[in-house]
């Protein structure tokens, strides 16, 4: 296990009621300060694994260690971004973003101040008093992201966060996410089934094969994200090669 | 509920209640609650009697007649309201008033106009059941997938084919929901009608048993009637579940 692994997954298996084996024997180390992606076709258990790391689902076997502590439920060092946004429909954007702090008992003024900062950060400055139904899908996910940033967790877990928005918004999000994370010292674990998205965003890609979910390969990205302009990445030769390489591996599982 | 590690289905809670009933009855905790076994015994005695079977058969007859009328009038009316805008707007007001109104208030006037007899009960059942059937049919047809109708027309369906092959089936889950609620209301209609009109029927029996504090007979009759209401509504619910798989809009 590398020295800077912030998440260690040891022998995780998960079988659901009814006998569906979602994951079989996952061993994994995820490095601190980097964006790692769990990538694979449907049925490979990537969301299950993410939720086990988040502490939302208990594993059938094995353990997850985060920052040297064993996981047995959600914790303040991990924040989750949901695929279907999971926003309170009766709450304003401000309330939703501050919700994580509200649950921890932080005083209203304080938590709203922090929330405002992150609302501004994700580009929703004038929408503080709006309600989810007044926002587009893309804007709703920004709220979800702002909410995760507001609780200042070390690890952000993102479950196919851009799959419910249209293609153009998705590409914009990917670029903005890289920008946003550039100056923060966050660890991000990302789940997606899109190869391009994974290669674009990740420093490390964990390929999972389906039924039951197992690790197929781990690919380290050799795209230089710090210097390169986000828009240039898609023309980088390494990017194109990696996408193709992954597709050749995953093709057999579809 | 998990006992000794085994999951017990919810239906068994009814058995648990029967046991509790028995205990309360035997402990004589209340004058109106006899032991469950006594109720069962009374039930077995009264059911074969001619008084009981006459009351039940008359009630069933009124129920069946009233419900059939409600279906024959209610469903076509609902369809008409959904397809012809003016009819929908004119009748909609009244249907919405009467669906939650205390229809039992109308029974005295029905008694005065139609007379004291079974026909009044039939009309009561009809009035209790018809409005919810009309509204649910209306909603069902209105919400039927427009694109399916267009598709049928594209492939040359005649007017009646559009109705029978597409619209009605699309609306069927909603219509059955209305029928189920209508059936429940219909049973209430029979009982309430017979109570208020005080003629032969289960309503009269309820009144009789209450008056003479024949508690065991009373609760036996309650079980019979309540079970009937439950069985009929669950049968419709069963049909409803069978067509629900294509009801995406609900």
């Amino acid at each position: 296990m590398p020295a800077n692994a912030i998440i260690e997954v040891k022998g995780i298996s998960k079988t659901y009621e009814g006998g569906v084996e979602a994951l079989a024997g996952i061993d994994l180390a995820l490095p601190q300060g980097m964006l790692s992606t769990l990538l694979g076709p449907s049925g490979c258990g990537k969301t299950t694994l993410l939720k086990i790391i988040a502490g939302l689902i208990p594993p059938s076997q094995g353990e997850v260690w985060v920052k040297g502590q064993k996981v047995d439920g959600p914790g303040p060092e991990r924040a989750f971004v949901f695929q279907d946004f999971a926003l309170l429909p009766w709450g304003s954007v401000l309330r939703n973003v501050a919700f994580g702090l509200e649950l921890r008992g932080v005083a209203k003024d304080e938590r709203e101040q922090i929330a405002r900062k992150h609302i501004h950060e994700v580009g929703l400055k004038s929408f503080e008093s709006s309600y989810p139904h007044q926002l587009s899908g893309g804007m709703r996910q920004r709220v979800g992201l702002a909410r995760a940033l507001t609780v200042d967790a070390d690890i952000i877990l993102m479950d196919e966060p851009f799959s419910s928005v249209d293609e153009q918004t998705r590409r914009k999000f990917q670029e903005e996410l890289l920008d946003l994370l550039r100056h923060k010292k966050k660890t991000v674990i990302f789940v997606t089934h899109s190869i391009e998205e994974a290669v674009y965003l990740s420093d490390r890609i964990v390929l999972l094969s389906p039924r039951p979910g197992k690790i197929s390969q781990i690919i380290e990205s050799n795209i230089d994200r710090q210097d390169e302009n986000p828009e240039e990445i898609r023309r980088d030769k390494n990017y194109l090669d990696t996408v193709d390489r992954i597709w050749q591996i995953l093709k057999q599982y579809v | 509920m998990i006992v000794f590690g085994k999951r017990i289905p919810m239906l068994f809670s009814l058995l648990a209640w029967c046991v509790i009933w028995e205990i309360i009855g035997r402990a004589k905790l209340s004058t109106i609650v006899p032991p469950f076994s006594g109720v069962l015994a009374a039930g077995i005695t009264i059911v074969p009697t001619p008084k009981f079977s006459t009351a039940v058969s008359i009630s069933l007859r009124s129920f069946a007649l009233g419900m059939s009328l409600a279906l024959l009038v209610g469903i076509p009316l609902g369809v008409l309201m959904a397809r012809v805008a003016s009819v929908g707007k004119i009748l909609g007001l009244w249907v919405n008033i009467f669906i939650s109104a205390p229809i039992s208030a109308l029974v005295p006037i029905l008694m005065a106009v139609i007379g004291i007899g079974e026909s009044t009960v039939v009309v009561t059942v009809f009035l209790f059941a018809v409005f919810v059937i009309v509204i649910d049919t209306h909603v069902g047809i209105k919400q039927a997938d427009r694109s399916l109708v267009e598709m049928a027309r594209c492939f040359g369906a005649t007017r009646s084919q559009v109705y029978t092959k597409v619209l009605f089936l699309c609306a069927l889950p909603e219509i059955l929901a209305g029928v189920r609620l209508g059936v429940i209301r219909g049973v209430k209609g029979v009982v309430i009608g017979q109570l208020l009109i005080a003629i032969i029927g289960v309503g009269e029996l309820f009144e009789l048993y209450s008056q003479h504090f024949l508690m065991e007979e009373f609760w036996a009759l309650v079980i019979v009637v309540f079970t009937f209401a439950f069985v009929v509504s669950e049968s419709v619910a069963f049909l409803e579940r069978r067509v629900e798989y294509y009801a995406s809009t609900r």
């Binding site: 009766w90 | 909609g92 008033i97 005065a112 429940i184 109570l195 309820f206 439950f230 809009t249």
Partner: protein, 256 residues
């Protein structure tokens, strides 16, 4: 072409049509007992004028209001308990489903014989009819809580209590309110049956008395008044419900 008429014009046409047919039917000699629209309207005004209608409503509304208040408090509380606790649910759900389908009105005569002809049996009649639907709606409101929101709450370290107060209850409040509205409708039914069966007072008295002296316009006017009163009250609640709980706030994207 139909679309050019505003909705209240249609309502006027509707009223005019029905009242016209009613007037006609009343004058036609099908039955002495069936009053025409104008006769009923006159009788209604006279009863309002001499105060008998107001007096009757004062008496009728008492057990209704008390009964609904009791059913609401107990019913919502119990429904929430059913929704939150699997054990309570296991014991109560089959019974509640039967009670919702059952003609509870059958119990009303029994109530009279036990509790007498006073306020108690009338309040109980309302409670017995209104409670099942209030309980079931509260229960369904709790059970249908959005699982995604609950998961989100857990992910952000919410306790079970926070889950209930911040997620489940707000989500359930729409259905609970709907249950109250339906319960009120059942309450009206209960009080009418009670007053017609039990020694009548209030509106029931007006109806039965006028029936016994064959004053059909008065009788019908009383009946019409309770139906309209019930319809208006419930309609008002429905509008309030739509205002307080629009589908967007409930998170129903493709709501009717």
């Amino acid at each position: 072409m139909h679309r050019s008429l505003p909705p209240f014009a249609w309502q006027l046409i509707s009223f005019a049509l029905v009242f016209g047919i009613w007037e006609f039917a009343g004058r036609w000699p099908i039955s002495l007992a069936f009053p025409s629209f104008s006769q009923t309207l006159l009788a209604l005004f006279s009863m309002i004028a001499d105060g008998s209608l107001a007096k009757a409503y004062l008496i009728t509304l008492q057990p209704l209001v008390i009964g609904i208040a009791l059913s609401s408090i107990a019913g919502i509380g119990f429904g929430i308990a059913m929704g939150l606790s699997r054990s309570v649910e296991w014991f109560s759900l089959p019974v509640m489903i039967v009670l919702q389908a059952a003609p509870m009105a059958a119990i009303i005569p029994l109530l009279t014989y036990i509790y007498g002809i006073g306020l108690t049996s009338k309040v109980l009649a309302v409670v017995v009819l209104a409670s099942p639907v209030i309980v079931m709606n509260s229960y369904k409101g709790i059970r249908n809580a959005n699982p995604s929101l609950i998961e989100m709450c857990r992910a952000f370290l919410g306790t079970r209590q926070q889950e209930i107060v911040k997620i489940i209850l707000p989500h359930a409040s729409a259905l609970i309110f709907a249950g109250l509205r339906l319960g009120l409708a059942m309450g009206f039914i209960g009080i009418v049956i009670a007053e017609l069966l039990i020694t009548p007072t209030g509106i029931g008295d007006l109806i039965t008395y006028n029936s016994s002296v064959a004053d059909y316009p008065n009788m019908f006017a009383a009946i019409v008044s309770i139906i309209i009163f019930a319809a208006l009250t419930i309609h008002a609640l429905e509008r309030l419900e739509r205002k307080l709980f629009p589908p967007e706030i409930r998170g129903l994207e493709n709501a009717r």
